[in-house]
Symmetry: C2
Subunit: 422 residues, 2 copies
């Protein structure tokens, strides 16, 4: 027995109970975003190694599953380094493939293009509880729309989805990379220091204002700058009015129109939506990826740590493929996070508990079996789920197991006669 029963390290077999929830959520996603005019697309799981290592993916580029060249192209003897042996890899996100897809197909796609992409991505992360090396991402993006209509539609669609899946309390946090930079500039931080300052700022949730102050000081920034910087965070309110107050303060350091744009997004979303969620301006929101150029946002669900989705505007990435910049704004839904939350809460897929099982004793005649299957076929034609199964020796245990899978009605077929039970 040379064969291995366990999945490869860090990846998992998905059992039927979880699959039911996953398929239900995927259908909700397709239906909801479909209703907003998003088009489903698919890109290959395998991507050119050049595209995967083009610095669009940040730290994810260190986690690529690389695919070996094949046939004559593979030359072990002359290979000097790893990359001489590979020509492709598994995608680590859906954003790089989407950008390639749009570049390749823009001529035949609607403009603006509203894209929905669900698919697996792979990262050779250190395996840890609840974190897998293959997982599903779900990205929605609007390409070719430079206006805030894109942000507004993305936020409305995604909050509509969360409502449909059953979430009650959640908050959209929103910021703009230009405000982030404007605040830093206004307080005397140089452009070269932004990356470090923002990494520290990003910890605000965990270490608080004092913690951020401490780390900035430790990193050698002038006390005066730090004081001014943190005072800004302390005074600004977490709403459109807060953004507009910053617009005045930062008029030396950023384009006021960019701040007004963010305030208007918050106003529009608040006015339009009828769902139960908050939208908050969060000046401490950083979002790690370097490709964001404007608005950034994420969604948090009450009572659960971490976000269930996030994204922002990335107007410069498609230009890396085509040479021509294309406005782009997108959301990545934390699909696996949502599934984990639903599974922990014991979520039951609607309609999954009205199943019928026909159990057939071993050795019945073909006549009895045919009658059983005929009856099952006629119930199935009415849309019911009917399992026709051999009756096991331990019938009690078999029925208990089936009950756990949602079978609530049983019919038994015997050699002599047939009995009906519930």
């Amino acid at each position: 027995m040379s064969l291995k029963k366990k999945p490869v390290t860090g990846m998992k077999d998905i059992l039927p109970a979880e699959m039911q929830v996953r398929e239900y959520v995927m259908n909700q996603i397709r239906e909801t975003y479909g209703g907003f005019g998003f088009n489903s697309i698919e890109t290959p799981c395998v991507e050119h190694i050049e595209n995967l290592t083009s610095k669009q993916g940040g730290d994810n580029e260190k986690l690529i599953f690389k695919i070996m060249k094949r046939g004559e192209k593979l030359n072990l003897e002359t290979a000097q380094m790893e990359n001489d042996l590979v020509d492709s890899g598994l995608r680590y996100d859906l954003t790089v493939p989407l950008s390639r897809y749009y570049s390749n197909n823009a001529a035949v796609l609607p403009s603006p293009f509203k894209s929905l992409q669900m698919g697996s991505v792979w990262r050779a992360d250190r395996p840890q509880r609840g974190r897998f090396r293959q997982f599903v991402q779900c990205d929605i993006d609007i390409l070719g729309d430079p206006t805030r209509l894109a942000e507004i539609e993305l936020i409305l669609a995604t909050t509509t989805l969360l409502g449909k899946v059953g979430f009650k309390g959640y908050t959209v946090r929103i910021n703009d990379r230009n405000i982030l930079k404007g605040m830093a500039a206004h307080c005397g931080f140089s452009e070269e220091s932004y990356d470090q300052v923002f990494i520290i700022l990003d910890k605000m949730d965990k270490i608080g204002m004092d913690g951020v102050a401490g780390e900035l000081k430790e990193a050698g920034y002038p006390e005066e700058n730090i004081k001014k910087y943190l005072a800004l965070f302390e005074t600004v309110t977490r709403d459109a009015a807060g953004v507009r107050s910053l617009k005045e303060v930062l008029n030396d350091a950023m384009d006021p129109e960019q701040a007004e744009n963010l305030a208007a997004i918050i106003d529009s979303v608040s006015e339009i939506t009828t769902s139960q969620f908050k939208i908050e301006f969060d000046p401490t929101l950083v979002r790690g990826m370097s490709y964001y150029t404007g608005t950034i946002f994420e969604i948090l669900v009450d009572g659960f740590p971490g976000s269930v989705g996030g994204g922002g505007r990335y107007d410069k990435m498609i230009g890396k493929f085509t040479g021509i910049d294309t406005p782009a704004c997108g959301f990545s839904i934390g699909f696996e996070r949502i599934i984990t939350i639903l599974m922990e809460e014991g979520f039951t897929v609607p309609g999954s508990e009205e199943r019928i099982a026909f159990l057939i004793e071993k050795g019945v005649s073909d006549g009895v079996m045919n009658e059983a299957v005929k009856e099952a076929m006629s119930e199935r034609a009415k849309g019911k789920t009917v399992l026709v199964s051999q009756m096991n020796k331990n019938k009690k245990f078999q029925k208990e197991s089936l009950q756990k899978e949602g079978y609530s009605q049983f019919k038994e077929f015997y050699k002599e006669a047939l009995k009906e039970t519930n």
Copy 2:
């Protein structure tokens, strides 16, 4: 611009129109098989290289996309051969992963287990028209049922699916590996020659009886054997009666119960089904994979070359993982083949032609935009698809493109007032 716009060789970007058809068919598959009590499962796309190269996959094992080891485990200097550098690969089918999955999870799965697995597989085949290196397979399998109820349910479920997707005329061809062997044995062919004889027999569709006779002769088999063999094929009828006549003839060469089993499957399916399809005994049906141990079958659609699905019983594969044989029978649906046929026939997904588009002139006030989006949200809440989009300069062209995507109703929002058009 170092980034590549085209997908990797042999793989493809899937455009929205095809995605609509794919998602529709996938939903029909989930719904139909779900109604028969099949459980959706998922296995990782990446599989242990040992499992992929265990001789279960036939020629597909030559087409594996291999994944390089990572970190310290990768040692270029000491590597003597390709396989020193790899630890895994992309699955080339769903049968090997299913067998591993069942071996790994049998304790928590229902018994018998009815499995539905849809997912991409990868084969580094020579690229050619209509054939891709990443494609979706759809497998349904019943594990743990040694009786013909498995075959009957598989055939009924799959023909039900084909009917739902809109196919009219199709034929299930069925045979048994034991009849195949029995016929060869009865006519004097030795066990060692079976593989070659069956490869030639498999060409009957293309080269006819004379062609098969010629190739067998060329391969050096005695004329007497060939004559006896082909006479059998000529006389046997393509139905349950034909199987039963062979049962008598081959009583020196095979277990009569195995022939009776096949005849009973044909009888039961014919009696139970109300769908419009033929089920035919086809003694020339071979099915290439060496793992089949009993019944084999495939489905052909009138007017289209090649099969849209096939499968059979493989009672010995799971034992390779667990040491204990488990009865198993399955169907692999030709998902890509079905999509190709539907696309060629200009299939339209039901309901996809009642979409509404709101076009918003550039520069409208936030008030006008908010009203438009509010109205869209209220239509969406009723289940309608409403696209809210910037109005392009070439509005006529934009509307024509949208009409092609199924948008049949338009509403336009302008700076001053709003106009409604159709």
